[in-house]
């Protein structure tokens, strides 16, 4: 298998099959022909060439999670393609053809690519296979029922005849309408040759020899370099700009005043960055976040969460939690807090744009979670139709939610600067820019209450989360479409996977004016810290083993019970440790069952929490690429470890106080636990694997710390200062 980041060379006879129908695409001979056919009203997912290669479109964005490989592999499975002959082709921006079925546009987020595209891709693969079989049947004049496929070959066992897919492509008759494929005609899971069997990710070789191409690597002849000083607070504008020193730097081409900052265009990156640093800009006090001090705000958020008279947005409810709390024999309450968190994707945000001299067309290179949004951003910046943007999709050096915003501001920056000089511009943010212009997982305060009946049964659960409405900032279009429901902030606040007769999850919207974003773990990152810490407190209150307490609340869900039992066995849950203790957390993350045990100890003198081991058991249904699921889970655990122990952004007067890896601590190799993972495959529809362990790490550590010290840590990150203070 290979990876083609551009459309394959369509130089021989091909046929294409797509969602809307099956159509002969290219007669023969010409590359120009392929281009000419690109506006044919079909949705090509598969191209089979007469040399027996099979090109399959991959519709998702690749940011490290592996769907560039997993998605075409699902189609190849039903097509019965020889994976060694498959070329993976990155699908062009086209929502109509390649939209994520759950989002309705090309958007890769929420660990849902495999879940969302699974059914559709199997259908497309099966349709193409059916056409190949029918073509071979007619060619040999035998009943189609006598035919079978082996990888890339149609076989007629009776006569011993064989035709490769490439041979069939030379004469195939493609019907006007795609054949129907019944569910029963799809492979049963025990017949899978590719799904559940690891292949080498198509992007892997290039990431080992240095040839993998990210937007920051793009080289265009005559290219200039852009840097940008953005306003420290969202909504602020440059007031006075002193660019005297900046202009004096050799190689500086232009200083550009923009509504939200000051851009620099230069002949070299070092001149661009030097000039940006030499700018002296004062800012208007427009924008809401001025004056916002994150440390001082948390108590106010906490008070808002606790203020039961306050208007809330109900996220989810079952029964009548408030009434049940009134009548409960015992009630328990607790509160938790979380600081702002930075994505810290390794590739500082950047894009390359080349606007034509007349400003009417633009070539764009970027790595984004939604390429159709990137195209829209570029087109609206230039006030031209989206069709005039020639888009090149690049690998992403990490995403984690940062590249899934409606305004894709770094794409905008590149286009705007290129439009000033009408030359190609590589716009790069420095690491400091990336932190200062960060869009963070929001500050949150959580207030939870629970009620038990006289027999000790948990009958009521209420969780109120005070935080900014993230979707309102990240994606106002989606926010409006969802009528103000903010899943990025509040999803799962009601712990819907626990069998509690009365549940209420509420958002208490705050308006800090800060730039906020989804981050790995999304709403669950902070919600689950609160919920799973609270569950531990409830179990202890009741004198019940915390694992048994959770197991009882999911006892009707056999998959959940199985993974809780598995992680207990892995961690030797019942065994007392002398110098450490264990804590557990569980969740049902969009259908993926996952439980995590952390082993932790505390150095009382320094307040340092040590986490030598983490065990995870997960059941995501059908495991499309098991080794990659393990990799994603290792990754999720380590990301969660940073959130739990180190990562903290603060603001003063609305301005971000951190600047880089010297004052924002992301996990290094000497910071991380040993990870132990058990992947339990079941024949359920596959669900997400990209971030499922992340939200469980902090509560499991806090629960282990409680077991070890008797002290409850209620705030992330659990920094030494906070731990020492809690220990008293």
């Amino acid at each position: 298998m290979t990876l083609a980041l551009r459309n394959p060379d369509i130089s021989r006879r091909h046929f294409m099959v797509g969602a809307a129908g099956l159509t002969f695409a290219v007669a023969s001979g010409l590359r120009a022909g392929a281009a000419a056919r690109s506006n044919v009203a079909i949705s090509p997912w598969v191209t089979i060439a007469t040399d027996d290669t099979v090109a399959i479109m991959s519709p998702a964005a690749e940011m490290g999670q592996g769907s560039l490989t997993s998605l075409p592999l699902i189609l190849a499975e039903e097509l019965d393609a020889d994976w060694g002959k498959v070329h993976v082709v990155v699908a062009p921006p086209n929502d109509e053809l390649y939209k994520n079925p759950q989002f309705g546009y090309m958007y890769t987020a929420g660990s849902n690519a495999v879940t969302a595209y699974f059914k559709e891709l199997r259908q497309f693969g099966a349709q193409v296979r059916k056409v190949l079989l029918a073509s071979a049947a007619s060619h040999w004049n035998v009943p189609v029922a006598e035919l079978a496929t082996e990888p890339n070959v149609v076989v007629h066992a009776k006569s011993g005849r064989r035709l490769t897919y490439g041979e069939i492509a030379a004469f195939a008759e493609v019907p006007a309408k795609a054949p129907d494929v019944a569910e029963s005609e799809l492979k049963s899971p025990e017949k899978f040759r590719l799904i559940g069997h690891d292949v080498v990710r198509v992007d892997m070789p290039g990431k080992i020899n240095g040839t993998a191409q990210y937007a920051i690597d793009v080289q265009v002849p005559g290219m200039l370099y852009g840097a940008i000083l953005r306003a420290p607070v969202e909504g602020a504008q440059p007031d006075k700009i002193d660019d005297g020193k900046a202009k004096a730097i050799a190689g500086v081409v232009r200083i550009v005043s923009l509504p939200y900052g000051v851009g620099v265009i230069a002949e070299t990156p070092w001149a661009a960055f030097g000039a940006k640093d030499a700018l002296n800009v004062s800012w208007t006090r427009s924008g809401k976040a001025w004056g916002f001090d994150s440390e001082k705000a948390l108590p106010a958020f906490d008070a808002a969460a606790r203020d039961l008279s306050r208007q809330t947005k109900v996220w989810g409810k079952k029964g009548d939690a408030l009434a049940a709390l009134q009548t409960a024999a015992t009630t328990v309450e607790a509160a938790y807090r979380n600081d702002l968190v930075y994505h810290a994707q390794m590739e500082p945000l950047n894009a390359v744009a080349s606007v034509a001299p007349d400003g009417q067309t633009c070539e764009l290179w970027s790595g984004v979670q939604s390429k159709t949004i990137a195209v829209t951003v570029a087109a609206s910046a230039l006030n031209i139709p989206p069709g005039r943007i020639v888009y090149h999709d690049m690998l992403m050096g990490g995403g984690f939610g940062r590249r899934g915003h409606r305004d894709e501001e770094y794409v905008h920056d590149a286009v705007v600067l290129s439009n000033v000089v009408h030359k190609p511009v590589k716009l790069m943010w420095t690491r400091e820019d990336d932190v200062h212009n960060g869009r963070f997982n929001p500050l949150s305060a959580h207030y939870l209450r629970a009620g038990f009946d006289p027999s000790g049964k948990l009958i009521a659960f209420q969780h109120r989360k005070a935080c900014d409405e993230v979707t309102a900032f990240q994606d106002p279009v989606r926010f409006a479409r969802q009528k103000g429901r903010d899943g990025i902030a509040f999803n799962g606040v009601d712990a819907p996977y626990y069998d509690i007769p009365n549940r209420l999850g509420e958002g208490v919207p705050q308006e800090s004016g800060l730039r906020t974003s989804s981050l790995r773990g999304i709403a669950h990152l902070t919600n689950v810290f609160a919920i799973e810490s609270f569950m531990d407190e409830l179990a202890r209150k009741r004198g019940v083993d915390p694992a048994a307490f959770r197991r009882d609340l999911v006892k009707d869900n056999a998959r959940a019970v199985a993974i809780i039992d598995a992680v207990k066995r892995m961690a030797d849950w019942g065994k007392k440790r002398d110098a450490s203790a264990l804590g557990i957390a569980y969740m049902n993350y969009s259908g993926t069952q996952i439980a995590l045990v952390a082993e932790a100890s505390v150095d009382r003198a320094s307040g340092t929490v040590r986490v030598p081991n983490i065990w995870v058991a997960l059941d995501p249904g059908i495991t499309v690429q098991p080794n990659n699921i393990l990799a994603q889970t290792e990754s999720s655990i380590i990301y969660g470890t940073g959130f739990a122990l180190f990562e903290r952004i603060t603001t003063e007067d609305g301005i971000v106080q951190q600047s880089g890896f010297y004052d924002y601590h992301v996990p290094r190799m000497n910071d991380v636990p040993q990870t132990h993972i058990e992947l339990i495959a079941t024949n359920n529809h596959p669900t997400g694997v990209g971030q499922m362990a992340t939200p469980l790490v902090a509560p499991a550590i806090a629960n282990a710390v409680h077991e070890f010290t008797g002290v409850r840590l209620r705030e992330t990150p659990m920094t030494p200062d906070r731990v020492k203070k809690a220990l008293g």
Binding site: M63, G64, Q65, G66, D198, V200, R201, D203, M204, P205, G206, K207, I208, N209, G210, T211, A212, Q213, Y214, I216, D217, Q219, Y225, T268, P269, W270, A344, Q345, M346, E347, P348, L395, M396, G397, G398, G399, F400, M428, T430, R431, N628, A631, Q632, E634, S635, S636, I637, I638, Y639, G660, F661, Y662, V666, P667, R668, M669, N670, D671, V672, Q674
Partner: protein, 151 residues
């Protein structure tokens, strides 16, 4: 002031001012983009190269400092990804987003060049200069152990 040096076995020269970070010369003048920009402050290791056979943060190394020296980037580590570290990286399926991996591989190759049989603790100490936000650390350790065994 041109600086003359050797990169991946070939003569190279740069017209950039001597104080220019080697990283930008490698990436934007010489177009060897396997070496990455991550932080510009020597704290993430995405820019790691070898200078005269020892690892160096190319973001902190000024181009003037490498005059007359040998610089090796990921592109020059081997012609065909056949360096034992690269082979081990593939066998252990290390990369995810991949952005830091050139730097990780250059750091690992430097470790094994100077300590062919590192203990796990030595691997962790040496490699903690390099950040991987995808958290591929468990696989990096395994890959280095494998490369040490198979080299």
């Amino acid at each position: 002031m041109a600086t003359t040096f050797e990169i991946n076995g070939k003569a190279a020269h740069s017209e950039a001012p001597g104080a220019t970070p080697l990283l930008w010369v490698i990436r934007e003048e010489l177009k060897l983009t396997g070496t990455k920009f991550g932080c510009g402050t020597g704290l993430c290791g995405a820019c790691m190269v070898h200078v005269d056979g020892k690892r160096a943060f190319s973001c902190l190394t000024q181009v003037g400092e490498v005059a007359g020296k040998r610089v090796t980037t990921i592109e020059g580590l081997s012609a065909d990804a056949s360096h034992p570290v690269q082979k081990a990286w593939l066998a252990e399926k290390v990369p995810q987003c991949g952005y830091c991996q050139s730097g990780q591989i250059m750091s690992a190759a430097d470790l094994l060049a100077h300590n062919p049989r590192p203990e796990r603790a030595q691997i962790v100490e040496h490699m903690s200069t390099n950040i991987c936000r995808c958290g591929t650390y468990p696989r990096i350790v395994r890959a280095i152990e494998r490369a040490a065994k198979e080299a």
